[in-house]
């Protein structure tokens, strides 16, 4: 617990492993991963399919629990947390952006953005005010009462970004955010991410596209469940690891 105070890492992963049982064979999706991510970093996690990048993202997003090792978020160890505690962390600390947007089709943009705040337990008036503010941040104020089906892919993804931001999370966690968009719209979304990063948002991006990854200052390449290359390790995290 003391290390948490000395260490300014937002994410502190040590010797993290994740194994899946597939019939008789055990798949090691992550093997002894060490990783520190600091506030206001813009990190791209890359790697071929099967390299474990999605598993790592699920770990960081508290959707999955490690088979071994430790993961501390904001100095709080998450291993051994209950389902309810993990749900709380997802709600307060993590903002997810998915490749397939994952909006509720029946709800308006405003209601989609408001959704995480319902689980935070905020009052309706405050929820709506914050949701409107988040939509404004992504430039979609005028589409607030449209449903996802009435919007373009880029607009949908921007609603998803607004939904991720509305709880003011520590980390914006984006899984192939441009994967379902044409390149022009993809660039617009990436510009939005750059803008958010400039405003101080910590962003972790999972992608297999090099030009998307280049938006980030730091690239982490995974291979066979291990970190093969970490471009940012030299600057920030070396002293933190010591």
């Amino acid at each position: 617990m003391n290390t948490a105070k000395q260490n300014p890492s937002l994410i502190r992963i040590r010797d993290l492993s994740r194994r899946y049982q597939m019939g008789d064979t055990t798949i090691e999706a992550l093997r002894s991963v060490d990783l520190d991510i600091f506030p206001n970093e813009y990190v791209a996690i890359m790697g071929p399919s099967g390299s474990g990048k999605t598993t790592l993202m699920n770990m960081i997003g508290c959707l999955d629990s490690p088979s071994g090792g430790s993961y501390a978020l904001n100095g709080t160890e998450t291993a051994g947390m209950s389902d309810t505690q993990l749900a709380r962390i997802r709600n307060r600390e993590i903002g997810f952006v998915f490749q397939t947007f994952n909006l509720l089709a029946r709800a308006t943009a405003l209601h989609n953005v408001e959704l995480p705040l319902i689980y935070t337990g905020l009052k309706r008036t405050e929820r709506l005010a914050r949701a409107e503010k988040a939509l404004q941040q992504v430039g979609l104020t005028e589409r607030a009462y449209h449903k996802p089906g009435e919007m373009s892919g880029g607009q949908r993804q921007r609603v998803a970004v607004a939904r991720a931001l509305v709880t003011e999370p520590s980390i914006l966690l984006a899984d192939e955010p441009t994967g379902n968009l044409d390149s022009k719209t993809g660039h617009e979304i990436m510009a939005l991410f750059d803008q958010l990063h400039a405003a101080g948002q910590t962003i972790i991006l999972v992608t297999h596209e090099a030009d998307i990854a280049e938006h980030a200052q730091r690239q982490i390449h995974l291979l066979d469940g291990q970190i093969a290359i970490d471009t940012g390790k030299s600057n920030l995290s070396r002293e933190a690891v010591q």
């Binding site: 389902d83 749900a87 959704l115 689980y119 337990g121």
Partner: protein
Amino acid sequence: MLGWEMIIVALQSIRANFFRAVLTMLGIIIGVAAVIAMVALGTGAQRAVNEQLENLGGNILSVRSGSHLFRGVEKGDIKLNLDDAAAIERDVEAATAVVPETSGQIPIKMGNKNRTVTVVGTTPNYDSVQKYELMYGRMFTRAENQAKERVAVIGGDLPGSLETAPEMIIGQDLLIKGTSFKIIGIFEPKGTIGFGNRDEYVWVPLNTAQARLTGNKDLNSIGVQISPDVPMDIAIIDVERVMRREHQIIPGGKNDFTLSDSKQFLSMQQEAAEIFSYLLAGIAGISLIVGGIGIMNIMLVTVTERTREIGIRKALGATRTNILLQFLIEAMALCLVGGAIGIALGASAAMLMASLAGWSTPLSVSAILLAFGFSAGVGLIFGLLPARKAAGLDPIEALRYE
């Protein structure tokens, strides 16, 4: 706070699949409507029987000629007469009063109105034994009976059926089988008891009836009022003994008369009504359970359909409890809305049937609350399994679900 949100979410998702929701609710609607209608009808029927029991005279045993089953066949064989009545009055210790009756369907006429009604010739103690109250006028007297006076007391519904005000009819003339009788009294209506409406009967002195209307000394029945201190089954044996002696029936011979205790008959009817209403309530309960299974079925489908939504909600921070409550409340909302419609339907059906049967509307708040609670319970029980399934979904797999 969250509870209220959950209810809104549940109602929205019902609205989104409105037609399916209505079909799903149908089972509950029918079940609750059946429970409400059946319980109401059951209590209504019982109340009606109870009222009849109260209106019936004290402990009255009725002796009729012929055996009950073959009354039609044996008609004209052995009749009852006043000697039988006298013997019962004299020799049955438990008998506190004896009321001989002769009756028949006889045409009557008043002014230009013709009717055919049951005319009963009986003794002046008839009203006190059979618990009739006079609305107007008086009962005929022993002297009038002996003098074969042409006087009549009529049932409370008869003035209406003759289109005359009850208070105006006293002292008027009534033609019974062409003979003119003076109306001297009207009984209060008692309501239908068993078969036939006694409130449309006409009562005349027994001797007058025998002399002027039937032309013989036969009786149709003898009512025997039994002292309340004597058990009915003992009194029946006593009356049977006296009647067999009077009719000189050899030991082992068949009775040529029938003894019936009308109260016993009514209480049998009451028991039957009770069993019947339990049976119907049971069937209604089963249809509620079937409705509940329908709810469970559709909720399981809903959970599968909305797997991705559940994944999204979980990723955004919904706890197991949030998801469990969301689907449980949705199932309960289906049941409660269905229950409310069912209550409305069942209540109107019960009121309609009660008004057709002439009963008071026996809808009770407790029955409605019971049905409401029952449908909420059905929603809770049958919603739990699908809701647990939803709550237990793994968010990663749920998000990947196509």
